[in-house]
Amino acid sequence: MSRDAAPAVGGISALVSDTWVMTRRNIRRHVRVPAQLIYSTALPVMWVLLFLYVFGGSIQVPEVDYVLFLLPGILVLATAFGMANTALGVAEDLADNVLDRFRSQPVSRPALLLGRALFDTARNGSALLVAIGVGFLVGFRFHGGPLAAVGAFALIVGFGFGFSWLGVLLGLWVRDPEAAQTAGLLFAIPAMFASSTFVPVSSMPGWLQAVANNSPVTHAVDAARALTLGEPAGRPVTAALLWTAGILVLAVPLAVARYQRIGH
C-alpha cells in the first residue's frame, strides 16, 4: 500500500550533491586543523631529499641521474602512503557519532566513502605539486614534454584514487582508527619497497623480482617514469591504467557493500 507512495531517493544527482557535502566536510576539517595536511605534504619532500642525499651516492641506476629516476617513484609513494590516511579517516568517521546521523538521513549511501576518497585524492594532488616543485630545485625536469608531464601527473593521481579505495576498505575492516592507519602503513611500505620505486627491479634477488614485477606500484612507477623521462610509455601506462581500473572495480563495490552492512 504505502510502497506505491514511496518517493525516489538517491540517483546520480543525489550522489553528486551528497558527495560534495562530504568532501567539503573533509576539506573544512583539514583546513581548520591542518596538521595532517602539513605532514602528508612534507612527507614526499622528505623522501626526495633523504633518498637523494643519503642513498643517492651509492644507488646506481643505469643511464639517468638518480633524481630523474627517483622523483616519479616518490610521487607514487606519496599516494600509496595517502592510503593510510584514508584508512584512518574512514575509521574515524565510523567511530564518530555523526555517522549515526548520516545513516539515519536520506544520504546517498556511497557519499561518505566517496567524499573521503576524493578529498584524499585532492590532497595527494596538492602534495604532488609541492614535491614536484622541490624536485625542480634539486635537478628534476620533465623530459617528455608538457603533455607527457600532465599525463604523468594525472596517472599518479588516478592511481592514488584507486589506492585510496584500498584504504577505505582497510578502514571499514579494521575500524579502530589507529590500527587502521598502522595497517595502511603495513600494506603501503612493503608495496613501495618491493617495487621499482627506489631501485631498478633488476638489482633484486630473483624471487623478489617476481614480486616486484607484478606489483601495481611498479607498473605505476614505471609508467610515470617513462612519461617524465620521455621514453616510450605505451606499455607501462596501459598496465598502470589496467591496475588502477582493476583495483577500483574490485574495491569500490566491496567497500560500499561493507558500509551498507553496518548495523546488520
Binding site: 504505502s2 518517493p7 581548520r32
Partner: protein, 323 residues
C-alpha cells in the same frame, strides 16, 4: 491511513551475540503523540530507537514508521524521521550554523532554504550567539541542543529522542523539554527514551515500561500510578543497619520488593490497596521497637510503578536515575 499509528512495532527481537536485547517488543504510538519509553540501563531502549531509525536490523518482528517498514523501506523512513541520540552527533570542527546547513543540504533543501532553516533553529534552541563558533568550543549542553536542532532541520514527522537530557544541567534540560513540548503540540510524533521518571511523566502522553527487552507495562502516567492503588510508605530508621529489618517486616504488604536506600537506611514500599494494609504495616514496624527517625505516607509516584514492575533490585536501575 490517518488512523494508522505513526510508529508500529510488533514482536521486535534483537540479540547481540548471546545477549537478548529485545525479546518481543510491541508498541504503537498514535500520530502526533509522545510516548515515553522508560527503563533501566540495558533494558533495550536504545536498541528500539536504533532499529526504528534504520541504524540496526532486527532479528525478528516488524517495525513501521509512518507506514514504512524500517528494513524494506529504509529510504522512505529516513525522509520522515529525526534522531537525537545520547551523544551529540555533530561535526566538531564545523560551526553550529555549518552543521545545520550541512544537514539541510543532505536533506536536499538547497542552499537558500538550508540557510534559512539553520537560522530559525539556532534561534529556537538559543544558539544564535554561538552560531558561528566551532562546535569544539561548545559546552555539553550546547552540543546537545545543536544536535536536537540538527535532527529538526527536515521538519521530521517522527522524532526519536534517545535519552536527550542525560548528563545535562537543569537549565539545559528544561530547554530540551520546552522544545519537545512545542514540537508535540505542533503535531510531531515523539518517541522519547529516558531513565528519568519525572521526564517521562512530564513529557509523555503515554509511557511504556521496558525491562530486559520486554514491555512490562503501558499506559498514561496516571493509569500506571493507579495500578498501584495504595499508598507509598517511607520509613527511615535512626540506625542505617535497621533498614533491612524494617523492609523484612513490611514486605508482606508491599507491592513489589521494598526499596532500601543503603546510605540512610530509608525503606520505600508501595502498600497494597487493601483496607487496613497501611495500618497493619505501620503496626508491624512499631512492634519491631526500634528507633524511627521519620515516617511518611504519600501517594504513589511513577518510581513505585517502575520498581514494582521492573524485576528485583539490581536489574540495573539506580535510585536517582543518573547513569
Amino acid at each position: 491511513m490517518s488512523d494508522q499509528p505513526a510508529i508500529e512495532v510488533a514482536g521486535l527481537r534483537k540479540a547481540y551475540r548471546k545477549v537478548r536485547a529485545l525479546d518481543g517488543v510491541d508498541l504503537a504510538v498514535p500520530t502526533g503523540s509522545v510516548l515515553g519509553l522508560l527503563g533501566p540501563n540495558g533494558a533495550g531502549k536504545t536498541t528500539v530507537v536504533r532499529i526504528l531509525a534504520t541504524l540496526l536490523a532486527p532479528d525478528g518482528g516488524t517495525a513501521r514508521v509512518d507506514g514504512y517498514d524500517v528494513v524494506g523501506q529504509a529510504p522512505q523512513v529516513r525522509l520522515r524521521i529525526g534522531l537525537t541520540g545520547q551523544y551529540a552527533a555533530v561535526d566538531r570542527f564545523a560551526t553550529g550554523r555549518e552543521n545545520l546547513e550541512q544537514a539541510g543540504r543532505l536533506h536536499r533543501l538547497g542552499r537558500a532554504r538550508s540557510a534559512r532553516r539553520a537560522a530559525e533553529l539556532l534561534d529556537l534552541l538559543d544558539l544564535v550567539e554561538a552560531a558561528d563558533r566551532r562546535v569544539e568550543t561548545y559546552s555539553g549542553g550546547m552540543r546537545r541542543r545543536l544536535d536536537l536542532a540538527t535532527s529538526l532541520v527536515s521538519r521530521p514527522s517522527v522524532l526519536f529522542l534517545d535519552e536527550p537530557t542525560t548528563g545535562l544541567d537543569p537549565r539545559a534540560r528544561l530547554a530540551v523539554w520546552d522544545v519537545t513540548r512545542e514540537l508535540a503540540a505542533g503535531g510531531t510524533t515523539v518517541l522519547l527514551t529516558t531513565q528519568y521518571l519525572d521526564e517521562a511523566d512530564y513529557l509523555s502522553a503515554r509511557i511504556a515500561l521496558l525491562d530486559r527487552g520486554r514491555v512490562v507495562a503501558e499506559g498514561t502516567p496516571s493509569e500506571l500510578k493507579a495500578r498501584l492503588g495504595g499508598a507509598r510508605l517511607t520509613i527511615r530508621p535512626v540506625d542505617v543497619a535497621d533498614g533491612q529489618r524494617v523492609a523484612a517486616a513490611i514486605t508482606e504488604w508491599s507491592r513489589g520488593a521494598p526499596r532500601i536506600d543503603q546510605t540512610n537506611g530509608e525503606v520505600v514500599v508501595a502498600v497494597d490497596p487493601d483496607p487496613g494494609a497501611l495500618a497493619d504495616a505501620l503496626h508491624r514496624v512499631a512492634a519491631l521497637d526500634l528507633p524511627v527517625a521519620d515516617v511518611e505516607v504519600g501517594r504513589p509516584a511513577l518510581d513505585d510503578v517502575f520498581f514494582s514492575l521492573t524485576g528485583p533490585a539490581g536489574s540495573g536501575y539506580a535510585s536517582g536515575g543518573a547513569a
